[in-house]
Point group: C2
Chain length 228, copies 2
């Protein structure tokens, strides 16, 4: 499809395609470019983490963060996927997906209605993070992923909180991006139809911050927030 094909990347800057990261449909919308994959991951807040329990799929939304070629997900030590990871020796098979919807695509034909989106799908095994230093790094990354610079402006987790938090890691190895960009792709014979066609872009960004009513006196809005 025109406007959606990307120039193939150099091998050193791209993930290696595998059977399950090459889509059966619209392979021209797939990309293995590391920079693109990282940018899509870094822009998101919530991933959808899939795993198998009792033979059935489970998909849960959860916060995540990227550190280099590794993703971290955290949660209570009592949550299901994190308990399963801790118990699993060779790791827990997971699929982690992040999706951004950029625009609604309204075509003249119902069939060609679509959305412009960017998504990343990661396949792999998740492992419990037990090294204290790696756990600290991951937790800082999780806070900084939500708001860059924030981990340095909050009270770090204490011993009890650290113990209550489980962190799992998933290496970026078998991973692909998929995206649709550009405009409407109607059939040539539909172009004269009297239906409005075009893009409806979704708003992005933030509304004004709402301060907690109990802020300590003299606590102003930090620069990393007013910059957003």
């Amino acid at each position: 499809m025109q406007g959606t094909t990307r120039t193939p990347s150099q091998p050193t800057t791209a993930y290696q395609p595998t059977d399950r990261t090459v889509p059966t449909r619209s392979p021209d919308r797939a990309s293995y470019d590391k920079e693109l994959v990282h940018s899509i991951l870094d822009e998101g807040y919530v991933c959808h983490l899939g795993f198998v329990r009792d033979g059935a799929p489970v998909v849960l939304p959860t916060l995540y963060a990227r550190v280099g070629d590794r993703l971290y997900v955290h949660g209570s030590t009592g949550s299901r996927p994190l308990r399963m990871t801790g118990a699993a020796d060779p790791g827990l098979p997971v699929c982690l997906t992040v999706t951004h919807v950029d625009a609604l695509v309204l075509a003249r034909s119902a069939f060609h209605h679509s959305i412009n989106y960017r998504s990343v799908v990661v396949h792999g095994s998740a492992y419990d993070v037990t090294d204290p230093q790696e756990k600290r790094t991951a937790l800082d990354a999780l806070v900084d992923h939500v708001v860059p610079g924030r981990s340095g402006d909050s009270r770090p987790a204490d011993k009890k909180e650290l113990a209550a938090t489980a962190v799992i890691r998933l290496d970026l190895d078998e991973v692909s991006a998929k995206l649709r960009t550009g405009g409407v792709n109607d059939e040539p014979e539909d172009l004269a139809l009297p239906h409005w066609a075009g893009l409806l872009p979704l708003r992005k960004g933030y509304e004004a911050p709402i301060a907690d009513p109990g802020l300590a006196p003299g606590t102003g809005l930090p620069g990393y927030l007013s910059a957003l």
Copy 2:
């Protein structure tokens, strides 16, 4: 947690909780209220559909629509989950999840950083829709889910397009919502810390529509779009 608990619904207007729809963590954030579940589903564009392939989880973003107590997902007849559904007799076990991120929650402590979100998780089996009338209804719903009223202002799918489109259905039966609302929940001993705390709400809505450059002469922006 204060501010996140919902009043239990009347049985007639709520889904029945099951083992896998009662969360092990923060059960006070769960709801089975039909109206709430439907409103969360109707507000989303993309769901994350999980299924099991070769024993491993797969999570793919895809468009969906709700018609009463039933969800529809469509795609090319060549796409993997849709081929698997068509081939499966007792249906394909799936987990379909929709999540909205409403605000970032910045606490004084790293541990209490969170997000305000609303999510719905549906467990069940997906079936291929073969009845032509139900397929038409589903396809109209999929277009109207993206922009209400749009299916009546576009060329309906022709025979060839219908044949190329697979639709699967998933009944809303084993389903729950989970949500976090409200403000920051810091520990009392952290309230005097000099870190800014509060909510950073995410922007919602649309930017101005971008018309296709080849619109038929005299095609204005329809009312259902300018109303957005």
